[in-house]
Every structure is written in structure tokens, then in C-alpha cells.
Symmetry: C2
Subunit: 352 residues, 2 copies
DNA sequence: TTGAAAGCGCTAACAA
DNA sequence: TTGTTAGCGCTTTCAA
């Protein structure tokens, strides 16, 4: 029997082609084949050619688990997204994944927002994979999870918010600023009596408070606040608007914590023959793709989610590859996109 | 120096706590510690207690790369989703991920729909991780990728469609049946002149063809078909409806290949003071959460995406754990959800 | 530029 | 029930 050409596989082998097989076929040592594949300019053209041919002929695909184990670099990034309303974050995740992929990294997806037990398990699962970086949507409050992440030594990037005490890196924007700026924007247009429709969400809460404070600082009447709870559906928006009409019928402008809620408000208004923006102005948050083309087109707050994803990928990879990231804290800001749903009919103004 | 209590780490070590550290602390062999952690009922209560305490004290998290390498089981599932319009599939991905997570598996996300080169790279990246299973949205046409997947020996599940020649397992529904049934549904209601608005998508194409054939088999006038190309936006729906009005003004009902396109059609209709459903009926596809609460509520085709995700996770795990999956081919069907957008005013009918 | 040796951290296989 | 041994498939380290 010819042991060199057809080595017997041990019983533990997975059966797949290994670097060793390629090396034997190319007539070189495994480590040389490894170099030809990973750092081709470290080998002679002759060796390179032979190894490439062997790879072609065998259909060899390197085992990244083995590579990761040996090099302590998994080329894996873990992303944690809330399990509900993923939609708003998808743009970011796509950009993150795309940028990572182009650089040879893979994305592992984890869903948060279930029980505390599951959060704990999620963290274990993530750390167990030894990712080169962790992407978090939102910021992590002090607690067990935060301590654990810090202890793991894995680069972490928190997003979609700002905090003076990030775990590590941070890319976000100020929700308070948004509340304040939106209030200013609407007050500048001449509205005086406001309502807010918001989902039970800590960040939406901060936008709400800032909005209310800004309005009340101007001596305007109290802002009517409708909390729709966990449900961010269009239906909740409709119900909230019904409540507004019943309890604060003199409201002139409604700021919603998401575009979908705003769409609900506008839907209910139309069902009641209340004209937006003539009778009441509506603003959303998120600028999901279709609100620009609705009738009336929705005025909303736009976050550049793609930028967050792309930047986060770069930061994480920089850190994974030992490069300095500075500053690791970036405020990407936001913009108010003025459309028809807040067009005061009496005093027309040009676009923002 | 006390080598037993504080073993010197080799220069290659990643520095993290290993099973060996835990074993030493618990006073047992590494394999015993491994058993205590993974198959606790194979060890004595005494050993179990000591190991658990050691795990607690050290904060040990097993390295899954090492475990996967040793056992040839990565506990990783790769999912491939189209990079555009992820929205429709999110429900499925969430269910998939949730079910996998509860069983100790992780999800790796890959985005398809870019260049052929990148598809090739994506496949390499996936196979390189040695996942225990691969989830595909859609079916894979014969070609290099298909051959490669087949050769990898990794369990594959194709979804969201039906084919007599799946790579391996399959969970989907018939797009032709949908086209045919929707046509029948609308014809039964008395509509006679139809238009279709569809995105350039192979599956939408099959629904379109089946719809058209079913209509024409009844001797009804030709179906006007508006292809909106790659853009599935609300705006495309508006533009398509404008074309319909110009080129086929006698159309009574429009079937759209997505709810968003249907929303566009309804938006354009409203902008032109055309009443839905009085003047024209509109149907969508997908049943995204908010179309039920719009005015008018949209009649649409519902796919149980959650079921697809949950079932796919089970199938994939069954196969990964050596269990038979039969039948590995499931037609989950679809349902037509009748709402107001197709309510013929002259001949009211009860709900479906 | 190439290679031999020695792991990375874990588990399968076998033995006691 | 517990342990010993020998890998999994790759890369780091060091030497030629």
C-alpha cells in the first residue's frame, strides 16, 4: 500500500480535505502551503503555483475553526440586535456585515430583548465563540453583563446612543438633542400645542423628556404624552391619536417616536377626515424608506444607519488587528427631514 | 514557585481561563471537568459540585472553536439572506435564530445578491466555518455554487419556494399556486379586468405568469403587467399605477408582488382621488404587520414566515445531531387574507 | 524561502 | 465514574 499518496484518515477526522492533503499534493510542507495561501508573497512563484493548483484540484477550503484556534483570531464579529423591530437597525447591520465581509470577517447574530436569563446565555454564547469584536445596538447599562464584557477583553462598540461612560468604543447620537431640536423646529414653525406618541423605550423616553422641557421652557402649554407601551405598531399610533383627540383636542402637532407610529396617527386622522398637515402636523422618527413617498410625505428625523454600520466595522477590525482607534467615540448626529406633514398652510416656508 | 497553582502560560496562549485551569482548581482531570460541564449526569455529584464552583470562581467560558474542532461539530448554522429587502425574511430569521439559540446553536449571517464573485466568496466563507447546517432563502439554481454545497456534505435547507430537485431539505410554498389562487379569488368576486405590478424577481414572475394564465383561461381580457424592475419601493408602486391609469384605464383590480408596492398603488390612487376599493381593488403580498390597520385595510397573501424559520431550525438541528428528517420537504402553503381593499361595494361578501 | 516541532483548547477513543 | 492518550487542522516559534 502506498501510504504517502493516500494517507489513511484517522477515525476522528472529519473527512474533509485538509491543508496537509494540499501540501502533500503540492510536494511541500503544510506550513509552506499555509504561507502560499495566506501570505503568498512570502513564497517562491514556483511553490505558489503548485499550491494554488493543488487547492484548485482538491477544492480545499481552509478550516477557520482550526485557524482561529491556532492564531487566537476568529475573524468573527458578534452583533447584538433587539429581537423586536429589527427593521430600523437592518440598514446598519447590512452595512456592518458588508464591510466586514469584504475584509474577510463573518458576522454572528444575537438577539437581545428576551429575559435576563437569556441575555446572560447570549453573552456566554458570544464570548464562547471568541469573536474579535462585539457590536451592540444601544448602550449597556452598568451590571453583570457589562462587567463580564469588560472582563472578556474583547473590543466592544456600543451604538445608536451616546454616554459619557462607554464600555469601550461608541458610535451614536444624542436623543436629547433630537427631542430639543424637533421641539425647536416645530415651535419655529409656529405650533404652540404639542403631543408626543412614544413607545416604551428608554431612548424614546429621553427624546420625549427633552422635547417637553424645551417646549415648557418657552412658556407654552404642557405637552400631552401618549405612551403606547411595548407595541410600536401602526395600530398603536391610531389608538394614541384617538386618545389625543379625546383628551387634548387642541393639539396642533404630534411628534412620534417612530415613523410607523406616525403613520398610524396619519391613518387615524384620515379615517376621521382630519387633514394632515392642515388640521394637525405629524412628525416621525427613523425615515424608513417609504415615508418620503406617502401622501402627505412625512417629516421625520433621519439617522445615517449605514454610516454607523460601516464605521463600526472599521473600528472593530482596526482593534482586532491591533491598530489604535482614536477617537473611538463618534457622534454621527441626525437630520430633520422636512416634508409635507408639517407644512403650516398659513405660513408656507421653504424646505430644510 | 508553585507551578501547580499558577501554571506559567506559554507564549502562545490567549491568556483566557481554560478547561485545564478549571480542572486543576477542581482537582480533577480536564476530561472530567469537560464531562461535568457538558454531560453533568455522567459524573458524581461531588465532582459536579467542585467543577461548578471552579467555573463560577474563574468565570470560565468554554472555547467553542476548540470544542468544535475537536468534535467536528461547530454548533453554528449559516443563513443566507438577500441583501436587499431583508424585511420580509426577518420574521423567518428571527424564528430561526431564536429556535437555534435555545438549543445552543449560533447563527452566522451571510448576504447574497451582490456580484457572482461575492457569492463565490460567501460560499467559501461559510464552508470555511464548517457550519452544522446552511439555511438558504430561496432555492439555488444548478451551477457551481450548488455543486460546491452538495460536495461539502453540509446539511442544507432551501426555503420560500418549491422545487422538484432540492439540494437537500426544503420548506416552502408554490408561487404558481398563489398566482392562480389570487386570480381565482378576484375573479370569484366579479372583477374582470386586471393589472399586475411586480418587481423583477423570479418568484414574483412565477406568481405573475400563473395569475395571467388563470385569468386568460377564463376568456377574460389580457392582464396588464407593470414591471417595476429592481426597485420594490412605495414610489415604484405609485409610478406603476400611473402607468396603469394611462395605458389600461379600465382595470378593476391590481395584484402587487409586495405589500409595499400595493401601498404605493393605494397612495397614488388617493393622490388622484380614486377610491380603493370602490373604484379599484388592490391586493398585496407578504402581509407585513401594518397593512392590516391601514385605511383601507389591505387584502394580501400571508406566508407563515415564523413557521418556516422554526421548522428549518429543527430540521437542521436534527440532521446535525444525526437524526433522520423525513419528509425533509414541506409545503407550508399560504393564505389569502381578505380585507377592505378588495371589497366590491356592489356585492358585499363576508370575510375569508 | 522553507521546514520541524510544538502547541491552540478541547473531546473521542480506549482503558482502568 | 474517572483518567490517559492522542488527536481535530491549523499557525507560531525557532532553526536551517
Amino acid at each position: 500500500m502506498n501510504d504517502k499518496e493516500t494517507p489513511k484518515r484517522s477515525r476522528r477526522s472529519s473527512g474533509a480535505i485538509t491543508l496537509r492533503d494540499v501540501a502533500i499534493l503540492a510536494g511541500v510542507a503544510p506550513i509552506t502551503a499555509s504561507r502560499a495561501i495566506n501570505t503568498p508573497n512570502q513564497v517562491s512563484p514556483e511553490v505558489l503555483r503548485k499550491v494554488q493548483e493543488a487547492v484548485q484540484r482538491t477544492g480545499y477550503v481552509p478550516n477557520r475553526m482550526a485557524g482561529g484556534l491556532a492564531s487566537s483570531r476568529s475573524r468573527l464579529i458578534a452583533a447584538v440586535v433587539p429581537s423586536t423591530v429589527v427593521s430600523v437597525f437592518m440598514e446598519t447591520i447590512e452595512a456592518l456585515n458588508g464591510t466586514l465581509f469584504d475584509a474577510g470577517y463573518q458576522l454572528m447574530l444575537g438577539q437581545s430583548g428576551y429575559s435576563a436569563d437569556r441575555e446572560e446565555l447570549l453573552l456566554e454564547a458570544i464570548i464562547g465563540r471568541r469573536p474579535d469584536g462585539i457590536f451592540l445596538t444601544g448602550i449597556l447599562p452598568p451590571g453583570k453583563a457589562r462587567t463580564r464584557l469588560l472582563a472578556s477583553g474583547i473590543p466592544v462598540i456600543e451604538t445608536w446612543d451616546l454616554t459619557p461612560t462607554p464600555i469601550d468604543m461608541l458610535i451614536g447620537f444624542s436623543h436629547s438633542d433630537i427631542g430639543r431640536e424637533v421641539a425647536k423646529f416645530l415651535m419655529d414653525k409656529g405650533y404652540k400645542k404639542f403631543a408626543i406618541v412614544h413607545a416604551e423605550d428608554e431612548r424614546a423616553g429621553r427624546r420625549t423628556v427633552a422635547f417637553r422641557d424645551a417646549v415648557e421652557q418657552q412658556g407654552l402649554p404642557p405637552v400631552f404624552i401618549a405612551n403606547v407601551g411595548a407595541s410600536r405598531s401602526l395600530k398603536s399610533g391610531r389608538e394614541a391619536f384617538t386618545r389625543i383627540l379625546a383628551e387634548a383636542p387642541d393639539v396642533q402637532a404630534v411628534f412620534c417616536s417612530s415613523d410607523l407610529l406616525a403613520l398610524g396617527v396619519m391613518t387615524e386622522a384620515r379615517a376621521r377626515n382630519i387633514n394632515v398637515p392642515k388640521d394637525i402636523a405629524v412628525m416621525g422618527f427613523g425615515d424608513v424608506p417609504f415615508v418620503a413617498d406617502m401622501v402627505p410625505a412625512l417629516t421625520t428625523v433621519r439617522i445615517n444607519g449605514e454610516q454607523i454600520g460601516t464605521l463600526a466595522a472599521r473600528f472593530l477590525m482596526d482593534r482586532a488587528e491591533g491598530r489604535e482607534v482614536s477617537p473611538g467615540i463618534v457622534d454621527v448626529g441626525f437630520s430633520i427631514i422636512e416634508r409635507d406633514s408639517t407644512a403650516l398652510v398659513k405660513t408656507p416656508r421653504q424646505k430644510h
